[in-house]
């Protein structure tokens, strides 16, 4: 099956300015008080939700290639980095505006509140991936070590979704939908991996 070219005509650097548009809009709206009654909550939540959207987008690249033969691999690094930017902004808003640098309270949240613990774990797992998302690091680590390291994305995304499910007071449809999609994508990888072992 031939892979269509139209999917790759755009240069991958375009992902950065496009990906950051929602963040620019959100901060603009927050600073000008257009995010409703509780703008801080809206800003914090929307940034978290965009982080999750880009993380899921990153997970979709391989199945798109393998199942429907759409090759978006050249955009994956940019998508992952944009996702990390959203996680970092989300965390920054939490630290600076929500907790207002109350480090003692933040520490308390991290050790006592499972949803924050899990969110923080996701952030910590993503950190080395963001730092090594460049050609120099691929060279330095070697392709296979680099690829193994970047498998940390799987637990990180899963933790991100679990974090979302846990912070709601009851079962909400949106976080459960994210969790379901992520579980399907991870299960697909797992079965592919099992097949590849069997066939080897």
């Amino acid at each position: 099956m031939a892979q269509s070219r139209i999917w790759t005509v755009l240069p991958s650097w375009l992902i950065y300015p496009i990906g950051i548009i929602p963040a620019v809009y959100l901060f603009y709206a927050a600073f000008t008080n257009q995010l409703g009654a509780d703008p801080l909550d809206a800003l914090e939540n929307e940034l978290g939700e965009w982080a999750l959207k880009f993380l899921v987008a990153g997970l979709l690249i391989t199945p798109l290639l393998k199942i429907v033969r759409i090759n978006l691999v050249k955009y994956r690094r940019a998508i992952g980095l944009v996702a990390f930017v959203y996680v970092a902004l989300h965390l920054t808003v939490y630290v600076a505006l929500d907790r207002q640098f109350g480090w003692w309270e933040i520490w308390g949240d991290i050790v006592k509140r499972p949803y924050i613990t899990i969110g923080m774990a996701a952030f910590v797992l993503l950190l080395p991936l963001a730092v090594t998302s460049n050609n120099a690091s691929v060279k330095k680590l070697g392709a296979s070590a680099w690829r193994n390291l970047h498998k940390l994305a799987y637990p990180a995304v899963l933790f991100g979704a679990v974090h979302y499910v846990l912070l709601k007071k009851t079962w909400h449809p949106e976080p459960l939908a994210y969790l379901a999609v992520i579980l399907i994508l991870l299960a697909w990888r797992f079965f592919k991996y099992r097949q590849s072992i069997k066939n080897a």
Binding site: N33, G36, A37, D38, L97, G108, R113, T170
Partner: protein, 313 residues
């Protein structure tokens, strides 16, 4: 991405007391001139006549726009803007509240009776949500005690059980695949809490009848407890001997107790209750320390003397 369509006032534009009094004068005047249809105020939306109350706080009230656009009313969806979007379809007339259980004169209470036969008071109360945000709301209401008196409680009654309307045709949050809570929504108070003069049945806010998203046409307001105790759109009140089941307690027994008194010392298992975000402050506003019993400890502290409030959360 959610698009927030409503325009928000700048913090400096948030309704001051004098503005809102002016607004009420304007609405009363408009009603008098027969202009109400022109400005979108229906016959039932005439400004309500109220008297002031010593129980009111003089803190700055939260803008009406925020009070009516940021609500938890899961019958209309779990998002904060869902009630404002979907509650318009709720039919609030005719409306009666069944009053029964351990009373000598069971009966029904008509909303029109509540609005016209009882003296209405303005009660400006702090409102603290269990999610650690807060507002200051000028309710219009009637002390629950003076309403219950009409039904002649029996001496052995110890609790009041409240119930919200269940009408999935008009309440989209009650249908669907994922039901967020068991319906109908249930709440309860101990008798002494119910009869305390701070406890009111609210029929309005900001001088008008209640907007649907705020629990029209009649809701409970118990200002020293987390917001979810202040049950909305009430259709039934029953006096009981046993502690009645409550919806949030059934949904999460280790997170939401029967009492649910505002208490900065007792954390929700998933977040701290020590401080709160004051709605209307914008993104740089400092958090406010949450006072014990939401600042009503002088009035209601004695109700809980000798109780372990960590156990009875």
């Amino acid at each position: 991405m959610t698009v927030y369509k409503y325009n928000q006032p700048l913090p400096s534009e948030i309704t001051s007391k004098s503005d809102y009094l002016n607004r009420r004068t304007f609405m009363a005047g408009a009603a008098g001139l027969g202009l109400s249809p022109l400005i979108g105020i229906g016959a039932t939306h005439a400004a309500l006549k109220t008297s002031k109350s010593p129980y009111s706080t003089d803190e700055k009230t939260t803008a009406l726009e925020h009070v009516t656009s940021y609500n938890n009313f899961y019958e209309f969806g779990t998002g904060k803007s869902d009630p404002a979007k979907h509650a318009g379809s709720l039919t609030t007339r005719p409306w009666t509240v069944d009053v029964g259980g351990m009373v000598n004169k069971p009966g029904t209470l008509d909303i029109e009776t509540l609005l016209t036969k009882f003296p209405l008071e303005e009660r400006i109360y702090r409102f603290r949500c269990v999610e650690a945000w807060s507002m200051v709301i000028p309710w219009v209401g009637i002390p629950l005690a003076s309403v219950l008196k009409q039904f002649d409680a029996q001496g052995s009654a110890k609790y009041v059980a409240f119930e919200t309307l269940e009408r999935p045709e008009e309440m989209p949050g009650q249908g669907g695949l994922f039901s967020s809570l068991p319906w109908p929504y249930l709440e309860g108070l101990r008798m002494d809490e119910a009869l305390h003069p701070l406890t009111i049945l609210a029929v309005g806010l900001y001088g008008d009848v209640l907007p649907n998203q705020n629990g029209a046409p009649v809701r409970l307001v118990v200002p020293w407890k987390y917001g979810f105790k202040s049950i909305k759109s009430i259709v039934s009140m029953k006096l009981t001997e046993k502690e009645p089941p409550t919806s949030w307690n059934k949904a999460g027994p280790n997170e939401y107790g029967f009492y649910s008194n505002v208490n900065p010392e007792v954390s929700h298992p998933r977040w701290s209750q020590a401080s709160e975000r004051v709605i209307g402050g914008g993104i740089f506003a400092a958090r406010k320390d949450t006072p014990f019993l939401n600042g009503y400890a002088d009035e209601v502290g004695s109700l809980y003397e000798g109780m372990d409030l960590r156990k009875n959360y």
